[in-house]
């Protein structure tokens, strides 16, 4: 975008300065160019969507954002600072949490334990101090547990608190995964196709949770989605990708009327 520091959404929320800026990102796998010279930003408090047909490079983009992939060219700026070469777990400590397209939960662990792992970045006690149960480690565990219980209430998953997540139905697993990401109290929350494979009802639930998260916790969210309809309803701004290139960027209305976007989705032949 440009130098404006903030803008107002139609529903009256103020969107702040950029949290993350992607500058001229190019990502290659051998000879295949997955992302070609893409720039965009994600601003404080907004819901930013990345859409595009299959194979457009959306997931690759998300993987660049959370450090699973390192782009060959371009810069990632997070909260005003250029990000150096970092490992994914360090990026998690900076305050970026994510969910995965094919749910990546800790299947043998309970819902509660899964969401507690989300708190790891906020836990300070060392290995040795855990040996004694009481004291610092114990207090820390209790404090974190309170927040986790809040998230469980918020996502309405109280009844499955102790269930190993491997046994839960798909829709609930997606919700637990969202809970784990929320537990990190992220500065930026990345959602990789949060509604993939869901029925209409589950999609509506998930949309509501995403909006509520943004509204209640003020969390900045970037999400990838296939389903145009849902995205247009919940996103403040949308980036459209096709064949690794950015073909549109703007509010849902702007994107909807963009000829390149219409072509990409209707499948006009490329030259």
């Amino acid at each position: 975008m440009n130098a404006i520091d903030s803008y107002l959404t139609p529903d009256g929320r103020t969107i702040g300065a950029p949290v993350m800026e992607m500058k001229n990102i190019t990502l290659r796998f051998g000879g295949v160019v997955a992302i070609k010279d893409i720039s965009f930003d994600i601003r404080e408090g907004e819901i930013r969507a990345i859409i595009g047909p299959n194979g457009a490079g959306k997931s690759s983009m998300l993987n660049v954002m959370n450090g699973f992939y390192h782009p060959q060219e371009g810069e990632v700026h997070f909260r005003g600072e250029k990000r150096g070469p970092m490992r994914p777990h360090q990026i998690a400590h900076q305050g970026i949490a994510r969910t995965f397209q094919n749910i990546a939960l800790f299947k043998g662990m309970s819902t509660l334990d899964n969401i507690m792992t989300g708190r790891l970045t906020h836990m300070k006690t060392g290995m040795l101090s855990q040996i004694k149960w009481w004291g610092a480690a114990q207090r820390e565990e209790t404090a974190n547990r309170e927040l986790v219980e809040k998230i469980i209430d918020f996502l309405e998953i109280q009844t499955i608190r102790k269930t190993p997540v491997g046994r839960l139905p798909y829709g609930l697993q997606k919700r637990v995964e969202l809970g784990r990401a929320l537990a990190a109290e992220p500065k930026l929350l990345l959602l990789d196709e949060p509604m993939a494979g869901m029925n209409v009802e589950e999609k509506e639930d998930m949309s509501r949770f995403i909006l509520d998260v943004n509204d209640e916790f003020g969390t900045t969210i970037a999400l990838i989605e296939h389903d145009m309809g849902v995205v247009m309803d919940i996103a403040d701004r949308v980036v459209v990708m096709d064949y690794g290139k950015k073909i549109g960027d703007g509010t849902p209305e702007e994107v909807r009327t963009n000829q390149d976007v219409i072509d990409a989705y209707l499948g006009v032949a490329h030259d």
């Binding site: 995965f100 792992t117 290995m127």
Partner: protein
């Protein structure tokens, strides 16, 4: 009750204790397999190396003495001290932790995201390297290990159970070392379970075992977890090394106890800590009872050598995931 019945009970008890020793070795395999999906072929050699290092520290041996002597024509062998057992165990533990760190730094780090078979091959290489390195460092002679664990039959138990049977029965004979091994193994397993269930690091360990990518995304460093896991496996190897070394001396054949752990793992499942314990007990009791009831009277004896493998083979046919292992269902 006849003396024969009590003898059967004694065989059963001895089987349980032998089983504990098998479990100790199998436990090391399970820990590493769970956390990193690696079948660590070097686990047996780690036990040997740990025991060698322990004896070396205790006796004040100079590491690489033979090598130094051969190169410089000197005549070094001992520092001349005798280290207390407790201190020596701590030092040996330190060496195993250093070893875990080096394994991560020079092997695992470079093999992230490789096929399991490649990691397995790497551990085979590691096993042979350690075997040679241990020999070079501490010498290849058979050593006696004594950390003060009482050995020999438990007289108290024998005297106090003698009244059970008739004149032919002299009470249960159990080796003190085996009793100690059982107690230590119980403490070890309990603390491992408590650690993995109730601490932050334990939770991170379980998380890594389930899903590497998800673990990274919540801020867990795979590399530090691997160092921790290999350190714990090194510690378990040290305990197994102490027990087996006290029993039968520290020598090359100690590394072969890994072979006995294989059927235990097939029975208990590669991913289950309780599985390793119960698998070990079943094998221990099974082979002793089979020898006692069927082997010796009808098959001419020496069935202990193959019983465990036979049982593992049956399990592979009828329940490949073991008693407690996770059933692997691949979605097509």
């Amino acid at each position: 009750m006849s003396a024969n019945f009590y003898f059967g009970v004694e065989v059963f008890l001895n089987g349980l204790m032998a089983g504990v020793m098998y479990s100790l070795v199998a436990l090391g395999f399970v820990l590493i397999f769970k956390a990193s999906g690696i079948f660590n072929y070097a686990q047996g050699v780690m036990a040997l190396f740990a025991a060698l290092t322990l004896v070396g520290f205790q006796n004040g041996q100079i590491p690489f003495a033979h090598l130094i002597n051969a190169i410089f024509g000197t005549d070094l062998h001992h520092f001349g001290w005798h280290m207390p057992a407790f201190l020596a165990i701590l030092c040996a533990l330190g060496v195993m932790i250093l070893f875990a760190f080096l394994v991560e730094r020079y092997i695992l780090k470079h093999l992230v995201n490789q096929e399991p078979i490649i990691l397995f091959m790497a551990t085979i290489g590691l096993a042979y390297f350690m075997e040679g390195f241990g020999d070079l460092m501490w010498g290849s002679d058979i050593k006696k290990l004594d950390v003060g664990i009482p050995q020999g039959g438990n007289i108290w138990l024998e005297e106090n159970t003698a009244f059970l049977g008739g004149e032919d029965f002299y009470g249960f004979y159990l080796d003190n070392l085996d009793i100690w091994a059982t107690v230590l193994a119980a403490i070890l397993v309990t603390s491992l379970v408590l650690f993995s269930q109730y601490t932050k690091t334990g939770r991170a360990l379980r998380a890594v075992a389930d899903d590497h990518q998800a673990a990274l995304s919540v801020g867990i460093s795979l590399r530090s977890i691997w160092v921790i896991v290999w350190s714990i496996a090194g510690f378990v190897a040290l305990v197994a090394g102490i027990m087996w070394g006290s029993k039968s001396g520290v020598q090359f054949s100690l590394s072969l106890i890994a072979l006995k752990a294989l059927p235990v793992l097939m029975l208990g499942g590669f991913t289950s800590i309780p599985g390793a314990i119960i698998g070990g007990l079943i094998i221990g009791v099974g082979e002793k009872m089979f020898e006692f009831l069927i082997g010796a009277p009808f098959l001419g004896g020496a069935t202990e050598n193959w019983f465990a493998y036979m049982l593992a083979l049956l399990f592979l046919v009828f329940r490949p995931q073991g008693l407690f292992g996770e059933k692997i269902i691949e979605r097509v």
